[in-house]
C-alpha cells in the first residue's frame, strides 16, 4: 500500500483533546526528496499535526510511518536517530555554548548514537567532527561568528545556526515549524534563500507555515489544513486555484 517512494506516511490520524477534534482523518503522503508544505490558518491544527509526527503527542487513532518504521510512541531521540531532524518555531539552541559547539553536538549525535560514555577523548582532538562543523558553518555563511555565544546571535542567525545543526546530521527528513515566524523581513528573506539553497540537496522536507509567500516559492506539494482536516492537496498552482482554499484561507486573511 505504501508507495516505494513515499518516505513519510501519516495514515488516518485522529487527535481529540477532550471534546475538541483537533485532527480528523488526516492522510498525508510525503514523497522522497520533495518539499511538502502544510499550510492553514491559525488554529487549523498544524502544530498538533507536527507534534503527532514527531512523537510528542500520541494520536487518538491512526499511525505515522517513516520509511517502514512506526513513529507513534517513540521518544524524540529515537525519532531523530531514525533520520528526522526538526527546526522549531522559536529556535531551540544551546545559548550558553559557542556557535561551533552548537553545530558539533548534533554531529556527535549522528556519529556516536543516542549515548556514548566518551569521556577520555578530548573534544579538541575530534578534528573530523570539528572540520565537518566548520564546513557546515561556511555553508550557511556563519564562519565569522564561530566562537560567539549562540545566545548573543540575532534571531535570523539563530535560525540559520539551528538549520546548520539539523543539516549536519544529513537527515532523511527535515521538519520545519514556521521557520520564519517572528522574523524581520530581512531575516525572513535570508532564511528563504537558505532554504532554497539547501533544497537542491535532495532531502525530504515538511514545512509547517502560515505565510503563503514563504511556501509558494519553496514547496513542491502543498496540503491545506483547516479545522483539523485536509481540505486540499496538490502542487502550489493546483492549491492556489482551489476555490475551497480561497474560501477557507486566502479569503479569510487577504
Amino acid at each position: 500500500m505504501t508507495m516505494p517512494n513515499v518516505v513519510l506516511h501519516v495514515a488516518d490520524v485522529h487527535k481529540r483533546f477532550g471534546g475538541l477534534h483537533a485532527l480528523a482523518d488526516i492522510d498525508l503522503q510525503v514523497e522522497e526528496g520533495q518539499t511538502h508544505a502544510i499550510i492553514g490558518p491559525n488554529g487549523a491544527g498544524k502544530s498538533t499535526l507536527l507534534n503527532v509526527i514527531i512523537g510528542k503527542l500520541a494520536p487518538t487513532s491512526g499511525t505515522v510511518v517513516f520509511d517502514g518504521a512506526i513513529l507513534t510512541g517513540r521518544k524524540p531521540y529515537e525519532i531523530n536517530q531514525l533520520g528526522i531532524a526538526r527546526v522549531f518555531q522559536t529556535p531551540e539552541i544551546f545559548s550558553d555554548l559557542s556557535v561551533l559547539h552548537n553545530v558539533m553536538i548534533p554531529a556527535l549525535a549522528k556519529r556516536d548514537g543516542a549515548f556514548k560514555l566518551n569521556m577520555l577523548r578530548a573534544l579538541d582532538s575530534e578534528t573530523g567532527i570539528r572540520a565537518e562543523a566548520q564546513d557546515m558553518l561556511e555553508d550557511v555563511g556563519m564562519t565569522s561568528s564561530r566562537d560567539m555565544a549562540a545566545g548573543s546571535l540575532s534571531r535570523g542567525d539563530k535560525r540559520r545556526m539551528e538549520l546548520a545543526m539539523c543539516l549536519i546530521q544529513h537527515p532523511r527528513l527535515l521538519l520545519l515549524d514556521e521557520p520564519t515566524a517572528g522574523m524581520s523581513r530581512h531575516d525572513t528573506n535570508t532564511t528563504i534563500e537558505l532554504l532554497k539553497k539547501i533544497k537542491s540537496r535532495g532531502m525530504t522536507k515538511v514545512i509547517i507555515e502560515h505565510d503563503m509567500h514563504v511556501v509558494f516559492s519553496l514547496a513542491d506539494k502543498i496540503s491545506v489544513l483547516a479545522q483539523g482536516r485536509i481540505i486540499a492537496d496538490g502542487t502550489p498552482d493546483q492549491v492556489r486555484g482551489n476555490p475551497k482554499v480561497q474560501e477557507a484561507y486566502l479569503g479569510g486573511t487577504h
Partner: protein, 379 residues
Amino acid sequence: MLAMSRNDLLLFLGFTIAVLAMPIWLQPFGAAYPDLLQRFTIYAILAVGFNILFGLTGYLSFGHAAFFGVGSYAAVWSFKLLSMDAIPAMAFAIVVSGIFALLIGYVSLRRSGIYFSILTLAFAQMSYNLAYSVLTPITNGETGLQLDLADPRYLDRAFSAAPAGLPSPTLLGAPLTGYAGFYFCAGFLIIAFFIAQRITGSPFGMMLKGIKSNQTRMNYTGFNTKPYTLAAFVISGMYAGLAGALLAITDPLAGAERMQWTASGEVVLMTILGGAGTLVGPVIGAWLIKYFENIFSAINDSILTRFFAFLPEGADHVAVTIASKFVGEGWFLTLGLVFVLIVVFLPGGIMEGVRRIVGLFNRSGKTPRHTPAQVQPAE
C-alpha cells in the same frame, strides 16, 4: 589519546603545584597545619565532584552529603573488617557510594528542576534518619561508627598479629598521620581534578553542558539524556564517596550528621561561592569556606576585645558585642550572609568576579571568549 591542549596542561600543572605547595603558601595565613590542610583537600574533592553534576548538567542535588557519609561508613567498615590499609578502604567506599548513587540517581533523575532537588533531599533525609535509627547495627547510631579492639580485620590478622591498642590507617604499612596524610589526600585531589578536567573537555562533558543549556534540543538532536545525567550523578557520587573515605582515613570514625542536609547545603555553598561550572571555582570555594570556618570559629570575645582596643571606651564594647555575633558560634551567620550576597550580586561566584575584573582591564581588547557560567536548573 590523553594529549592535552596547552592551556589545559598549564592549568593542571599550576593546580598541581598550588596543591602540593599548600604547606608553604598557606604559612602566612596560619593555615599550614596538617589537620586543616587535609580538610582543604577533602572538601575540595567533594566540591569538584559536586560540580560535575551541578556545574555541568545544572541538576541541583540537595542530598549530596548522603554519598559523603556512605563513603565514610564504608571506609570505616573496611578498616574494621578487612584491613587498616587505605587502599581497600577507598576502593570499597567508591564502589559502595557509586552503587548507592546509581540507585538514588536512577529514581531521582526521572524528574528534573526543583522536583529533582526535592527528591534528592528526600533520599538524603531518609538515609540520615535510617542511619540514626534502624541501621544502627551498621552505623552505630548517634555515637557514630568507630574502630574497636575487637574488630576482626581479617586481612591484617592474616599477615600479622594484632597490635596492642587501636591501630590507625596506613598506606602499605606507612602511617598516614600529619603531613603524610595531607600529601596522600593531595594526591587524590590532583587525580580528582585531572579527571574532572578531562570530563569537562570531553565530548561527554560537552553533552552534559548541552543538557544544562537546552534539554529539549538535546532530545531532538538524538541524545538519550538520561544515561548522560545518570553517569554524571554516579561519578559525582563516587567523588563524594572518595572524599568521605579520605575523611575517615584521616580520622577513622563516621557519624550520621555527615549525611544531614546541612552538610549537603555546605557543598552547594562551596560550589556556588567559587563558581559553579568552572573547574577551579569549587576548589577555591571549598578552601575559603573551610579556612574561614577555622579562623572565624576560633575567634572569641577576648580576641575581639584586643582587636577593638583602639576604639574609645564604650564604643569598643559595642563593636565587640556586634562583631561577636559573627564569629565563633556565629560563623554560620557570616556564612549565610556571604552566601546571600554572592547569590544576589555574583551568581557566577568568585570566578565570575575574577572574570569581570579581568574584563575591566581588557576593555579595549577583544570581547571575552567565555560567557559567564550561570546557575541554571535543568528544565
